[in-house]
Protein backbone atom coordinates (compact mmCIF):
# COMPACT_ATOMS: atom_id res chain seq x y z
CA UNK A 1 0.00 0.00 0.00
CA UNK A 2 1.17 3.50 -0.82
CA UNK A 3 1.74 5.58 2.27
CA UNK A 4 2.59 9.16 2.99
CA UNK A 5 4.84 9.25 5.98
CA UNK A 6 6.92 11.73 7.89
CA UNK A 7 10.15 9.78 8.15
CA UNK A 8 13.18 10.31 10.32
CA UNK A 9 16.63 10.94 8.92
CA UNK A 10 18.95 8.29 10.34
CA UNK A 11 22.05 9.40 8.50
CA UNK A 12 23.21 11.43 5.58
CA UNK A 13 26.68 11.48 4.11
CA UNK A 14 28.40 12.52 0.93
CA UNK A 15 29.87 9.36 -0.55
CA UNK A 16 31.28 10.87 -3.74
CA UNK A 17 31.32 14.35 -5.19
CA UNK A 18 27.72 15.63 -4.84
CA UNK A 19 26.49 12.08 -4.33
CA UNK A 20 24.67 11.55 -1.05
CA UNK A 21 23.60 8.46 0.80
CA UNK A 22 20.55 9.09 2.95
CA UNK A 23 19.04 6.58 5.36
CA UNK A 24 15.43 7.05 6.43
CA UNK A 25 13.37 5.29 9.04
CA UNK A 26 9.66 4.61 9.24
CA UNK A 27 6.83 2.13 8.92
CA UNK A 28 6.73 2.47 5.14
CA UNK A 29 9.78 0.22 4.88
CA UNK A 30 7.57 -2.77 5.65
CA UNK A 31 5.62 -2.10 2.46
CA UNK A 32 8.65 -2.19 0.19
CA UNK A 33 8.43 -5.22 -2.01
CA UNK A 34 10.88 -5.14 -4.87
CA UNK A 35 14.24 -3.65 -5.67
CA UNK A 36 13.67 -0.90 -8.22
CA UNK A 37 10.69 0.65 -6.51
CA UNK A 38 11.01 4.32 -5.72
CA UNK A 39 9.82 6.90 -3.24
CA UNK A 40 8.58 10.41 -3.92
CA UNK A 41 10.27 12.82 -1.53
CA UNK A 42 9.15 16.36 -0.74
CA UNK A 43 12.45 18.20 -0.35
CA UNK A 44 10.93 21.01 1.67
CA UNK A 45 7.68 21.80 3.36
CA UNK A 46 6.24 24.94 1.84
CA UNK A 47 5.87 25.86 -1.79
CA UNK A 48 9.41 26.15 -3.05
CA UNK A 49 10.19 23.77 -4.56
CA UNK A 50 6.66 22.55 -5.10
CA UNK A 51 6.95 19.03 -6.43
CA UNK A 52 8.23 15.81 -4.95
CA UNK A 53 11.39 14.18 -6.27
CA UNK A 54 11.36 10.53 -7.37
CA UNK A 55 14.33 8.62 -5.91
CA UNK A 56 14.96 4.88 -6.11
CA UNK A 57 15.21 2.67 -3.09
CA UNK A 58 18.84 1.54 -2.92
CA UNK A 59 18.76 -0.66 0.14
CA UNK A 60 16.02 -2.02 2.41
CA UNK A 61 16.49 -3.03 6.02
CA UNK A 62 13.13 -4.28 7.27
CA UNK A 63 14.56 -5.33 10.63
CA UNK A 64 15.55 -1.78 11.42
CA UNK A 65 12.62 -0.19 9.59
CA UNK A 66 15.17 1.69 7.51
CA UNK A 67 15.92 2.16 3.86
CA UNK A 68 18.63 3.90 1.91
CA UNK A 69 18.52 6.19 -1.08
CA UNK A 70 21.50 7.47 -3.01
CA UNK A 71 21.13 10.62 -5.03
CA UNK A 72 23.01 13.36 -6.78
CA UNK A 73 22.56 16.88 -5.42
CA UNK A 74 21.98 18.73 -8.60
CA UNK A 75 19.01 21.05 -8.74
CA UNK A 76 17.01 22.92 -6.16
CA UNK A 77 15.25 19.97 -4.60
CA UNK A 78 18.12 17.55 -4.27
CA UNK A 79 20.36 20.31 -2.96
CA UNK A 80 17.84 21.05 -0.23
CA UNK A 81 17.58 17.35 0.48
CA UNK A 82 21.32 17.13 1.00
CA UNK A 83 21.03 19.59 3.87
CA UNK A 84 18.88 17.32 6.02
CA UNK A 85 20.76 16.26 9.11
CA UNK A 86 20.17 13.39 11.51
CA UNK A 87 16.78 13.29 13.20
CA UNK A 88 15.19 15.84 10.93
CA UNK A 89 11.92 14.79 9.35
CA UNK A 90 11.12 14.26 5.72
CA UNK A 91 7.80 13.82 3.95
CA UNK A 92 7.97 10.65 1.85
CA UNK A 93 5.36 9.04 -0.39
CA UNK A 94 5.90 5.42 -1.23
CA UNK A 95 6.72 2.76 -2.01
CA UNK A 96 5.85 3.49 -5.62
CA UNK A 97 5.93 1.59 -8.84
CA UNK A 98 6.88 -1.88 -9.87
CA UNK A 99 10.52 -2.86 -9.49
CA UNK A 100 12.73 -5.61 -10.85
CA UNK A 101 11.03 -9.03 -10.85
CA UNK A 102 13.56 -11.08 -8.93
CA UNK A 103 11.61 -14.25 -9.54
CA UNK A 104 12.27 -14.00 -13.24
CA UNK A 105 15.68 -15.54 -12.61
CA UNK A 106 16.48 -18.84 -11.04
CA UNK A 107 19.51 -19.85 -9.08
CA UNK A 108 21.25 -21.59 -11.94
CA UNK A 109 21.38 -18.38 -13.91
CA UNK A 110 23.76 -15.47 -14.11
CA UNK A 111 22.45 -11.94 -13.98
CA UNK A 112 24.21 -8.92 -15.40
CA UNK A 113 23.38 -5.70 -13.58
CA UNK A 114 24.22 -2.58 -15.56
CA UNK A 115 23.99 0.86 -14.01
CA UNK A 116 24.83 4.33 -15.22
CA UNK A 117 25.44 7.21 -12.80
CA UNK A 118 22.49 7.75 -10.51
CA UNK A 119 20.92 4.70 -12.12
CA UNK A 120 23.27 2.56 -10.05
CA UNK A 121 21.48 2.78 -6.65
CA UNK A 122 18.46 0.50 -7.26
CA UNK A 123 20.78 -2.23 -8.52
CA UNK A 124 22.32 -2.51 -5.08
CA UNK A 125 19.21 -3.88 -3.41
CA UNK A 126 18.69 -6.00 -6.52
CA UNK A 127 22.17 -7.51 -6.23
CA UNK A 128 21.50 -8.27 -2.59
CA UNK A 129 18.18 -9.99 -3.24
CA UNK A 130 19.40 -11.95 -6.25
CA UNK A 131 22.46 -13.15 -4.37
CA UNK A 132 20.25 -14.22 -1.51
CA UNK A 133 18.30 -16.28 -4.02
CA UNK A 134 21.47 -17.95 -5.18
CA UNK A 135 21.70 -16.11 -8.48
CA UNK A 136 25.18 -15.16 -9.60
CA UNK A 137 25.41 -11.44 -10.29
CA UNK A 138 27.95 -9.47 -12.27
CA UNK A 139 27.95 -5.69 -12.12
CA UNK A 140 28.95 -3.11 -14.65
CA UNK A 141 28.76 0.41 -13.32
CA UNK A 142 29.37 3.44 -15.47
CA UNK A 143 30.21 6.95 -14.25
CA UNK A 144 31.52 10.23 -15.61
CA UNK A 145 34.79 10.13 -13.73
CA UNK A 146 36.43 8.59 -10.69
CA UNK A 147 35.23 11.43 -8.44
CA UNK A 148 31.60 10.38 -8.71
CA UNK A 149 32.11 6.63 -8.45
CA UNK A 150 30.34 5.13 -5.46
CA UNK A 151 29.50 1.72 -3.95
CA UNK A 152 32.17 -0.14 -5.92
CA UNK A 153 33.20 -2.06 -2.81
CA UNK A 154 29.63 -2.71 -1.76
CA UNK A 155 28.77 -4.25 -5.12
CA UNK A 156 31.97 -6.31 -5.12
CA UNK A 157 30.71 -8.10 -2.06
CA UNK A 158 27.95 -9.64 -4.17
CA UNK A 159 29.88 -10.43 -7.33
CA UNK A 160 32.36 -9.35 -10.00
CA UNK A 161 32.18 -5.61 -10.39
CA UNK A 162 33.50 -3.59 -13.33
CA UNK A 163 33.73 0.17 -13.48
CA UNK A 164 33.64 2.31 -16.60
CA UNK A 165 34.35 6.03 -16.57
CA UNK A 166 33.82 8.33 -19.48
CA UNK A 167 37.14 10.07 -18.87
CA UNK A 168 39.01 6.87 -18.07
CA UNK A 169 39.99 8.04 -14.62
CA UNK A 170 38.90 4.72 -13.15
CA UNK A 171 38.28 1.29 -14.68
CA UNK A 172 37.61 1.01 -18.39
CA UNK A 173 37.53 4.24 -20.35
CA UNK A 174 34.19 4.66 -22.05
CA UNK A 175 30.70 3.36 -21.50
CA UNK A 176 29.21 0.31 -19.83
CA UNK A 177 28.71 -1.24 -23.27
CA UNK A 178 32.46 -1.03 -23.84
CA UNK A 179 33.04 -3.01 -20.66
CA UNK A 180 30.56 -5.72 -21.56
CA UNK A 181 32.13 -6.14 -24.96
CA UNK A 182 35.71 -5.91 -23.76
CA UNK A 183 35.30 -8.35 -20.88
CA UNK A 184 33.04 -10.57 -22.98
CA UNK A 185 30.63 -10.86 -20.09
CA UNK A 186 28.25 -13.78 -20.26
CA UNK A 187 24.80 -13.72 -18.67
CA UNK A 188 21.28 -15.12 -18.86
CA UNK A 189 19.36 -12.08 -17.82
CA UNK A 190 20.18 -8.40 -17.81
CA UNK A 191 18.91 -5.73 -15.43
CA UNK A 192 19.72 -2.10 -16.14
CA UNK A 193 19.08 1.38 -14.89
CA UNK A 194 20.59 4.57 -16.17
CA UNK A 195 20.32 7.32 -18.76
CA UNK A 196 18.07 6.69 -21.72
CA UNK A 197 20.89 6.49 -24.31
CA UNK A 198 22.44 3.70 -22.25
CA UNK A 199 19.15 1.85 -21.96
CA UNK A 200 18.56 2.33 -25.65
CA UNK A 201 21.93 0.82 -26.54
CA UNK A 202 21.27 -2.16 -24.28
CA UNK A 203 17.76 -2.64 -25.63
CA UNK A 204 19.04 -2.75 -29.19
CA UNK A 205 21.93 -5.04 -28.39
CA UNK A 206 20.04 -7.49 -26.18
CA UNK A 207 16.51 -7.36 -27.48
CA UNK A 208 16.40 -11.13 -27.67
CA UNK A 209 17.69 -11.66 -24.15
CA UNK A 210 15.67 -11.81 -21.01
CA UNK A 211 16.04 -8.41 -19.45
CA UNK A 212 14.49 -5.55 -17.51
CA UNK A 213 15.14 -1.86 -17.81
CA UNK A 214 14.32 0.87 -15.30
CA UNK A 215 13.30 4.18 -16.83
CA UNK A 216 13.27 7.81 -15.84
CA UNK A 217 10.69 10.43 -16.70
CA UNK A 218 9.75 13.81 -15.28
CA UNK A 219 6.85 13.19 -12.95
CA UNK A 220 3.91 14.99 -11.47
CA UNK A 221 1.92 12.76 -9.17
CA UNK A 222 4.11 9.64 -9.13
CA UNK A 223 1.04 7.43 -8.70
CA UNK A 224 -0.45 7.19 -12.17
CA UNK A 225 -3.02 9.96 -12.09
CA UNK A 226 -1.57 12.82 -14.10
CA UNK A 227 -0.24 11.23 -17.29
CA UNK A 228 3.04 13.14 -17.06
CA UNK A 229 5.31 10.14 -17.36
CA UNK A 230 3.92 8.08 -20.23
CA UNK A 231 5.97 6.28 -22.85
CA UNK A 232 4.98 4.68 -26.09
CA UNK A 233 5.22 0.91 -26.22
CA UNK A 234 6.24 -1.25 -29.16
CA UNK A 235 3.14 -3.41 -28.84
CA UNK A 236 -0.07 -2.55 -27.01
CA UNK A 237 -0.13 -3.62 -23.34
CA UNK A 238 -3.55 -4.40 -21.91
CA UNK A 239 -5.07 -2.72 -24.91
CA UNK A 240 -3.13 0.49 -24.34
CA UNK A 241 -0.50 1.98 -26.59
CA UNK A 242 1.40 3.50 -23.71
CA UNK A 243 2.65 2.80 -20.22
CA UNK A 244 3.13 5.09 -17.25
CA UNK A 245 6.64 5.00 -15.84
CA UNK A 246 5.46 5.78 -12.31
CA UNK A 247 2.80 3.14 -11.86
CA UNK A 248 3.33 0.61 -14.66
CA UNK A 249 7.11 0.91 -14.27
CA UNK A 250 9.66 2.24 -13.67
CA UNK A 251 10.92 -1.24 -14.61
CA UNK A 252 9.81 -2.77 -17.92
CA UNK A 253 10.79 -5.92 -19.78
CA UNK A 254 13.46 -5.21 -22.36
CA UNK A 255 11.90 -4.32 -25.68
CA UNK A 256 8.60 -3.14 -24.33
CA UNK A 257 9.08 0.61 -24.30
CA UNK A 258 10.00 2.78 -27.25
CA UNK A 259 13.30 4.41 -26.35
CA UNK A 260 14.85 7.24 -28.30
Amino acid sequence: MIQQEIMRVVSQREIARNIFELILEGAMVQQMKQPGQFVHILPNPGLDPLLRRPISVAHIDKMKNQFTVIYRAEGKGTNLLSQYTVNRQLDVLGPLGNGFPINATDSSETALLVGGGIGVPPLYELAKQLTKQGVETKHVLGFQSSEVVFYEKEFSRYGETYIATVDGSLGTKGFVTNVIAEKQLDFDVIFACGPTPMLNALQQEYKDKKGFLSMEQRMGCGIGACFACVCHVNEPVNGKDYVKVCSDGPVFPIGRVVLT
Partner: protein, 307 residues
Protein backbone atom coordinates in the same frame (compact mmCIF):
# COMPACT_ATOMS: atom_id res chain seq x y z
CA UNK B 1 -28.16 20.06 8.36
CA UNK B 2 -24.65 19.62 6.96
CA UNK B 3 -22.93 22.98 7.14
CA UNK B 4 -20.57 22.14 4.30
CA UNK B 5 -23.40 21.30 1.94
CA UNK B 6 -23.49 23.23 -1.31
CA UNK B 7 -26.30 23.22 -3.84
CA UNK B 8 -25.34 24.08 -7.42
CA UNK B 9 -27.02 23.43 -10.78
CA UNK B 10 -27.06 19.66 -11.15
CA UNK B 11 -24.82 19.23 -8.13
CA UNK B 12 -25.79 18.51 -4.59
CA UNK B 13 -22.40 18.54 -2.90
CA UNK B 14 -21.77 17.24 0.60
CA UNK B 15 -18.87 19.61 0.75
CA UNK B 16 -17.36 22.18 -1.62
CA UNK B 17 -14.03 20.44 -2.24
CA UNK B 18 -13.28 18.41 -5.36
CA UNK B 19 -10.20 17.45 -7.32
CA UNK B 20 -9.68 19.49 -10.49
CA UNK B 21 -9.76 17.94 -13.91
CA UNK B 22 -6.54 16.35 -15.11
CA UNK B 23 -5.02 16.13 -11.66
CA UNK B 24 -6.92 13.07 -10.52
CA UNK B 25 -7.22 10.88 -13.60
CA UNK B 26 -10.51 9.01 -13.38
CA UNK B 27 -10.11 8.42 -9.67
CA UNK B 28 -8.68 4.92 -9.62
CA UNK B 29 -5.21 5.83 -8.38
CA UNK B 30 -6.39 8.05 -5.56
CA UNK B 31 -8.98 5.45 -4.52
CA UNK B 32 -6.02 3.38 -3.33
CA UNK B 33 -5.10 6.19 -0.97
CA UNK B 34 -8.44 7.18 0.54
CA UNK B 35 -12.18 6.74 0.29
CA UNK B 36 -13.43 8.82 -2.63
CA UNK B 37 -16.80 9.14 -0.91
CA UNK B 38 -15.30 11.90 1.21
CA UNK B 39 -15.09 14.18 -1.82
CA UNK B 40 -17.67 16.81 -2.73
CA UNK B 41 -17.42 15.81 -6.38
CA UNK B 42 -14.83 14.62 -8.87
CA UNK B 43 -13.84 16.49 -11.99
CA UNK B 44 -12.55 13.75 -14.24
CA UNK B 45 -9.86 14.12 -16.86
CA UNK B 46 -10.86 15.70 -20.16
CA UNK B 47 -12.68 13.34 -22.50
CA UNK B 48 -12.40 13.71 -26.26
CA UNK B 49 -14.30 11.91 -28.99
CA UNK B 50 -11.37 9.74 -30.00
CA UNK B 51 -8.68 8.33 -27.72
CA UNK B 52 -5.61 10.57 -27.53
CA UNK B 53 -2.05 9.83 -26.65
CA UNK B 54 -1.30 13.47 -26.00
CA UNK B 55 2.02 15.24 -26.31
CA UNK B 56 5.53 13.83 -26.26
CA UNK B 57 7.42 13.94 -22.96
CA UNK B 58 8.68 15.77 -20.94
CA UNK B 59 5.18 16.93 -20.16
CA UNK B 60 5.79 18.68 -16.86
CA UNK B 61 8.27 21.20 -15.51
CA UNK B 62 8.53 22.81 -12.14
CA UNK B 63 8.37 26.59 -11.63
CA UNK B 64 8.46 28.85 -8.58
CA UNK B 65 5.47 27.81 -6.47
CA UNK B 66 3.95 26.25 -9.55
CA UNK B 67 4.37 23.86 -12.42
CA UNK B 68 3.85 23.69 -16.15
CA UNK B 69 2.07 20.86 -17.86
CA UNK B 70 1.50 19.93 -21.45
CA UNK B 71 -0.18 16.58 -21.17
CA UNK B 72 -2.16 17.23 -24.31
CA UNK B 73 -5.46 15.79 -23.15
CA UNK B 74 -4.36 12.18 -23.10
CA UNK B 75 -7.49 10.10 -22.50
CA UNK B 76 -9.11 6.86 -23.62
CA UNK B 77 -11.74 8.66 -25.70
CA UNK B 78 -15.50 8.87 -25.24
CA UNK B 79 -16.11 5.17 -25.64
CA UNK B 80 -13.35 4.20 -23.27
CA UNK B 81 -14.60 6.58 -20.61
CA UNK B 82 -18.19 5.36 -21.03
CA UNK B 83 -17.20 1.72 -21.03
CA UNK B 84 -14.63 1.65 -18.24
CA UNK B 85 -14.07 4.81 -16.25
CA UNK B 86 -17.56 6.02 -15.45
CA UNK B 87 -18.99 2.59 -14.57
CA UNK B 88 -16.07 2.03 -12.21
CA UNK B 89 -16.83 5.34 -10.51
CA UNK B 90 -20.45 4.31 -9.91
CA UNK B 91 -19.41 2.46 -6.75
CA UNK B 92 -18.96 5.85 -5.09
CA UNK B 93 -21.66 8.17 -3.93
CA UNK B 94 -19.97 11.18 -5.52
CA UNK B 95 -21.25 13.32 -8.39
CA UNK B 96 -18.98 13.33 -11.40
CA UNK B 97 -18.29 16.45 -13.40
CA UNK B 98 -17.19 15.37 -16.86
CA UNK B 99 -14.60 17.59 -18.51
CA UNK B 100 -15.36 17.78 -22.23
CA UNK B 101 -12.78 18.74 -24.84
CA UNK B 102 -12.29 18.59 -28.56
CA UNK B 103 -10.76 20.10 -31.65
CA UNK B 104 -13.98 20.92 -33.49
CA UNK B 105 -17.32 22.12 -32.19
CA UNK B 106 -18.91 18.93 -33.38
CA UNK B 107 -16.54 16.87 -31.27
CA UNK B 108 -17.57 18.76 -28.18
CA UNK B 109 -21.23 18.39 -28.99
CA UNK B 110 -20.94 14.68 -29.60
CA UNK B 111 -19.00 14.02 -26.40
CA UNK B 112 -21.36 16.21 -24.37
CA UNK B 113 -24.41 14.49 -25.71
CA UNK B 114 -23.21 10.99 -24.89
CA UNK B 115 -21.30 11.52 -21.70
CA UNK B 116 -24.08 13.55 -20.11
CA UNK B 117 -26.31 10.47 -20.30
CA UNK B 118 -24.09 8.50 -17.93
CA UNK B 119 -25.96 8.07 -14.66
CA UNK B 120 -23.24 9.44 -12.41
CA UNK B 121 -22.36 12.43 -14.56
CA UNK B 122 -24.20 15.29 -12.89
CA UNK B 123 -22.66 18.15 -14.80
CA UNK B 124 -20.30 18.90 -17.66
CA UNK B 125 -17.26 21.11 -17.53
CA UNK B 126 -16.71 22.56 -20.95
CA UNK B 127 -12.98 22.82 -21.45
CA UNK B 128 -12.61 25.77 -23.80
CA UNK B 129 -9.34 26.71 -22.26
CA UNK B 130 -6.80 23.96 -22.64
CA UNK B 131 -3.54 25.52 -23.74
CA UNK B 132 -1.94 22.25 -24.74
CA UNK B 133 -3.60 21.19 -27.92
CA UNK B 134 -2.84 22.61 -31.30
CA UNK B 135 -6.38 22.88 -32.60
CA UNK B 136 -9.32 24.08 -30.58
CA UNK B 137 -8.66 24.25 -26.90
CA UNK B 138 -7.70 27.74 -26.00
CA UNK B 139 -8.88 29.28 -29.26
CA UNK B 140 -12.42 28.65 -28.10
CA UNK B 141 -11.51 30.27 -24.82
CA UNK B 142 -10.24 33.62 -26.02
CA UNK B 143 -12.93 34.75 -28.46
CA UNK B 144 -16.23 35.44 -26.69
CA UNK B 145 -18.39 34.85 -29.76
CA UNK B 146 -16.84 31.47 -30.41
CA UNK B 147 -17.12 30.49 -26.76
CA UNK B 148 -20.76 31.53 -26.70
CA UNK B 149 -21.60 29.58 -29.82
CA UNK B 150 -19.91 26.48 -28.46
CA UNK B 151 -21.65 26.85 -25.11
CA UNK B 152 -25.02 27.12 -26.79
CA UNK B 153 -24.52 24.03 -28.88
CA UNK B 154 -23.18 21.94 -26.02
CA UNK B 155 -25.94 23.17 -23.77
CA UNK B 156 -28.52 22.06 -26.34
CA UNK B 157 -26.93 18.64 -26.55
CA UNK B 158 -26.33 18.01 -22.87
CA UNK B 159 -28.69 16.19 -20.55
CA UNK B 160 -27.10 17.84 -17.50
CA UNK B 161 -26.07 21.37 -16.53
CA UNK B 162 -23.04 22.80 -18.28
CA UNK B 163 -20.21 24.65 -16.54
CA UNK B 164 -17.82 26.51 -18.78
CA UNK B 165 -14.16 26.48 -17.80
CA UNK B 166 -12.61 29.84 -18.49
CA UNK B 167 -9.09 30.55 -19.64
CA UNK B 168 -7.19 33.28 -17.77
CA UNK B 169 -5.23 34.12 -20.91
CA UNK B 170 -7.57 36.94 -21.90
CA UNK B 171 -7.65 40.69 -21.40
CA UNK B 172 -11.33 40.79 -20.49
CA UNK B 173 -12.48 37.89 -18.36
CA UNK B 174 -15.79 39.54 -17.47
CA UNK B 175 -16.76 39.88 -21.13
CA UNK B 176 -15.99 36.22 -21.68
CA UNK B 177 -17.99 35.16 -18.63
CA UNK B 178 -20.96 37.22 -19.65
CA UNK B 179 -20.87 35.86 -23.16
CA UNK B 180 -21.08 32.26 -22.02
CA UNK B 181 -23.65 33.08 -19.37
CA UNK B 182 -25.84 34.62 -22.01
CA UNK B 183 -25.33 31.57 -24.19
CA UNK B 184 -26.85 29.43 -21.47
CA UNK B 185 -24.01 28.25 -19.24
CA UNK B 186 -25.28 27.01 -15.89
CA UNK B 187 -22.06 27.80 -14.11
CA UNK B 188 -18.41 28.68 -14.54
CA UNK B 189 -15.25 26.98 -13.46
CA UNK B 190 -12.19 29.15 -13.25
CA UNK B 191 -9.41 29.28 -13.83
CA UNK B 192 -7.60 27.00 -16.19
CA UNK B 193 -3.85 27.40 -16.53
CA UNK B 194 -1.86 30.42 -17.67
CA UNK B 195 0.36 29.88 -20.66
CA UNK B 196 3.99 29.55 -19.64
CA UNK B 197 7.37 28.15 -20.56
CA UNK B 198 10.64 27.11 -19.01
CA UNK B 199 13.90 26.58 -20.79
CA UNK B 200 16.32 23.82 -19.91
CA UNK B 201 19.68 25.43 -19.24
CA UNK B 202 21.56 22.32 -20.24
CA UNK B 203 20.04 21.95 -23.68
CA UNK B 204 19.04 25.55 -24.24
CA UNK B 205 15.64 24.33 -25.43
CA UNK B 206 12.22 24.46 -23.77
CA UNK B 207 11.89 21.78 -21.08
CA UNK B 208 8.49 20.69 -22.32
CA UNK B 209 8.49 18.76 -25.56
CA UNK B 210 5.44 20.83 -26.45
CA UNK B 211 7.54 23.97 -25.75
CA UNK B 212 4.90 25.88 -23.79
CA UNK B 213 2.44 24.54 -21.26
CA UNK B 214 -0.10 25.50 -18.66
CA UNK B 215 1.05 27.17 -15.46
CA UNK B 216 -0.78 25.98 -12.35
CA UNK B 217 -0.26 25.91 -8.61
CA UNK B 218 -0.04 28.54 -5.86
CA UNK B 219 1.80 30.93 -8.18
CA UNK B 220 -1.44 31.63 -10.10
CA UNK B 221 -3.78 31.95 -7.15
CA UNK B 222 -3.80 35.78 -7.12
CA UNK B 223 -4.81 35.80 -10.78
CA UNK B 224 -7.67 33.40 -10.08
CA UNK B 225 -8.88 35.35 -7.06
CA UNK B 226 -8.89 38.59 -9.03
CA UNK B 227 -10.84 37.06 -11.90
CA UNK B 228 -13.40 35.39 -9.65
CA UNK B 229 -13.83 38.61 -7.70
CA UNK B 230 -14.55 40.50 -10.90
CA UNK B 231 -16.70 37.88 -12.59
CA UNK B 232 -18.81 36.88 -9.60
CA UNK B 233 -20.08 40.44 -9.30
CA UNK B 234 -21.13 40.54 -12.94
CA UNK B 235 -22.80 37.19 -13.53
CA UNK B 236 -25.59 35.39 -11.71
CA UNK B 237 -24.42 31.84 -12.33
CA UNK B 238 -22.21 30.16 -9.71
CA UNK B 239 -18.48 29.69 -9.94
CA UNK B 240 -16.34 26.75 -8.96
CA UNK B 241 -12.96 28.27 -8.19
CA UNK B 242 -9.51 26.78 -8.62
CA UNK B 243 -5.88 27.73 -8.97
CA UNK B 244 -3.21 26.89 -6.43
CA UNK B 245 -5.43 25.93 -3.52
CA UNK B 246 -3.27 24.37 -0.82
CA UNK B 247 -4.86 25.27 2.50
CA UNK B 248 -8.19 25.80 4.11
CA UNK B 249 -7.39 29.51 4.23
CA UNK B 250 -7.12 29.42 0.47
CA UNK B 251 -10.59 27.90 0.28
CA UNK B 252 -11.97 30.69 2.43
CA UNK B 253 -10.23 33.23 0.22
CA UNK B 254 -11.89 31.72 -2.85
CA UNK B 255 -15.30 31.77 -1.18
CA UNK B 256 -14.83 35.38 -0.10
CA UNK B 257 -13.84 36.25 -3.66
CA UNK B 258 -17.10 34.82 -4.94
CA UNK B 259 -16.65 31.10 -5.63
CA UNK B 260 -19.37 28.75 -4.41
CA UNK B 261 -17.17 25.67 -4.37
CA UNK B 262 -13.53 24.91 -5.11
CA UNK B 263 -11.31 22.44 -6.89
CA UNK B 264 -7.79 21.37 -5.99
CA UNK B 265 -5.43 20.56 -8.82
CA UNK B 266 -1.65 20.67 -8.63
CA UNK B 267 -1.43 20.29 -4.88
CA UNK B 268 -2.75 16.73 -5.18
CA UNK B 269 0.73 15.91 -6.47
CA UNK B 270 2.66 17.37 -3.55
CA UNK B 271 0.15 16.16 -1.01
CA UNK B 272 -2.00 13.31 -2.32
CA UNK B 273 -4.17 13.40 0.80
CA UNK B 274 -4.91 17.09 0.47
CA UNK B 275 -8.60 16.85 -0.46
CA UNK B 276 -9.78 14.82 2.54
CA UNK B 277 -7.52 16.87 4.80
CA UNK B 278 -8.98 20.17 3.61
CA UNK B 279 -12.51 18.86 3.96
CA UNK B 280 -11.81 17.95 7.56
CA UNK B 281 -10.14 21.25 8.33
CA UNK B 282 -12.90 23.21 6.67
CA UNK B 283 -15.37 22.03 9.24
CA UNK B 284 -13.21 23.35 12.08
CA UNK B 285 -12.70 26.56 10.20
CA UNK B 286 -16.44 27.19 10.06
CA UNK B 287 -16.54 26.85 13.84
CA UNK B 288 -13.72 29.36 14.10
CA UNK B 289 -15.49 31.76 11.75
CA UNK B 290 -18.71 31.14 13.56
CA UNK B 291 -20.83 30.58 10.47
CA UNK B 292 -23.64 28.11 10.26
CA UNK B 293 -23.61 27.66 6.52
CA UNK B 294 -20.78 27.76 4.07
CA UNK B 295 -22.77 29.80 1.60
CA UNK B 296 -22.71 32.76 3.99
CA UNK B 297 -19.06 33.21 3.06
CA UNK B 298 -19.56 33.39 -0.70
CA UNK B 299 -18.74 36.82 -2.09
CA UNK B 300 -18.03 38.42 1.28
CA UNK B 301 -15.24 40.48 -0.18
CA UNK B 302 -17.65 42.51 -2.24
CA UNK B 303 -20.99 42.05 -0.48
CA UNK B 304 -21.63 44.39 2.35
CA UNK B 305 -22.77 42.40 5.31
CA UNK B 306 -23.56 43.04 8.90
CA UNK B 307 -20.88 41.91 11.36
Amino acid sequence: MNRLHVELPGLSLKNPVMPASGCFGFGQEFSQLYDLNTLGAIMIKATTLEPRFGNPTPRVAETAAGMLNAIGLQNPGLNGVLANELPWLEQFDVPIIANVAGSEMNDYVEVAKEISKAPNVHALELNISCPNVKKGGIAFGTIPEVAAELTKRVKDASAVPVYVKLSPNVADIVGMAQAVEEAGADGLTMINTLLGMRIDLKTGKPILANQSGGLSGPAIKPVAIRMIYEVSQRVTIPIIGMGGIESVDDIIEYLYAGASAVAVGTMNFSDPFICPRLIEELSNKLDELNVSQLSELVGRSWKSYAG
